[in-house]
């Protein structure tokens, strides 16, 4: 898991604010960059993902920004809501490898959105 480093470990924002979580990776074979959201007592759920042929992808309030040269990608949550309070994981993978679902999870970022 040291191949993937997330920051910050925890984040507190006010309702309506912007939440930004960063992920740095070492393995240049990674070519699939997802973010997962996990609520207590539940398994992770895919939030948004990007492939390296684009630098940004937006889905609703969620945006991934990707910087291939820096080997970093980030998650931006616009207009953060209390319901977004959860743990977020980056989990890059080598989608061209033989085990496409072999994700390498970061350590997680605990997001708290205050009303």
């Amino acid at each position: 898991q040291q191949q993937v480093k997330q920051s910050p470990q925890s984040l507190i924002v006010q309702k309506g604010g912007i939440s930004i979580i960063n992920c740095a990776y070492e393995n240049t074979a990674f070519d699939y960059f997802p973010w997962y959201q996990q609520f207590p007592g539940k398994g992770p759920a895919l939030l948004i993902a990007i492939r390296p042929d684009v630098s940004e992808k937006k889905e609703g309030r969620f945006t991934i920004s990707f910087n291939k040269s820096a080997k970093q990608f980030s998650l931006h949550i616009m207009d953060s809501q209390p319901g977004d309070s959860a743990t977020y994981f980056c989990a890059p993978a080598n989608a061209g490898g033989t085990s496409y679902g072999k994700l390498t999870f970061g350590q997680g970022t605990i997001l708290t959105v205050h009303p």
């Binding site: 898991q1 993937v4 699939y32 007592g41 539940k42 398994g43 992770p44 759920a45 895919l46 993902a49 492939r51 994981f89 989990a91 989608a95 061209g96 033989t98 085990s99 496409y100 679902g101 072999k102 994700l103 390498t104 999870f105 970061g106 350590q107 997680g108």
Partner: protein, 115 residues
């Protein structure tokens, strides 16, 4: 079923005992994955099944861990001679074909506690 089902949701055992954890993937999904999530950490890959065969078992920590999927649907993770360090949440995930960048659907996990 509607989602990935894991049973039991909680399992308490004593050091040295044998345990079996069950996973029912989404109907029709040929790819099945086991992950282990220790407290405060991201999930770690254990094993990947494509159909009945283990395509990648590189994440199994040692030979006390074994998994099967005899009919290509339900899978069982088996742990022999359990140790306190095996305490974690064991997550199962499935995807349609195990193709590049496919969405993984996770179950809620089995919380294993070894006393």
């Amino acid at each position: 079923g509607a989602g990935v089902s894991q049973t039991p949701s909680n399992k308490v055992t004593e050091k040295g005992k044998y345990v079996e954890l069950r996973c029912d993937p989404i109907s029709g999904h040929t790819a099945l994955y086991w992950y282990r999530q220790s407290l405060g950490q991201g999930p770690e890959f254990l094993i990947y099944f494509q159909g009945t065969g283990a395509a990648d078992d590189s994440g199994l920590p040692n030979d006390r861990f074994f998994a099967v999927r005899p009919e290509g649907s339900v899978s069982t993770l088996k742990i022999q001679r359990t140790e306190r360090g095996d305490s974690a949440v064991y997550l199962c995930a499935s995807s349609l074909r195990g193709g590049p960048g496919e969405k993984l659907f996770f179950g809620s996990g089995t919380q294993l506690s070894v006393l």
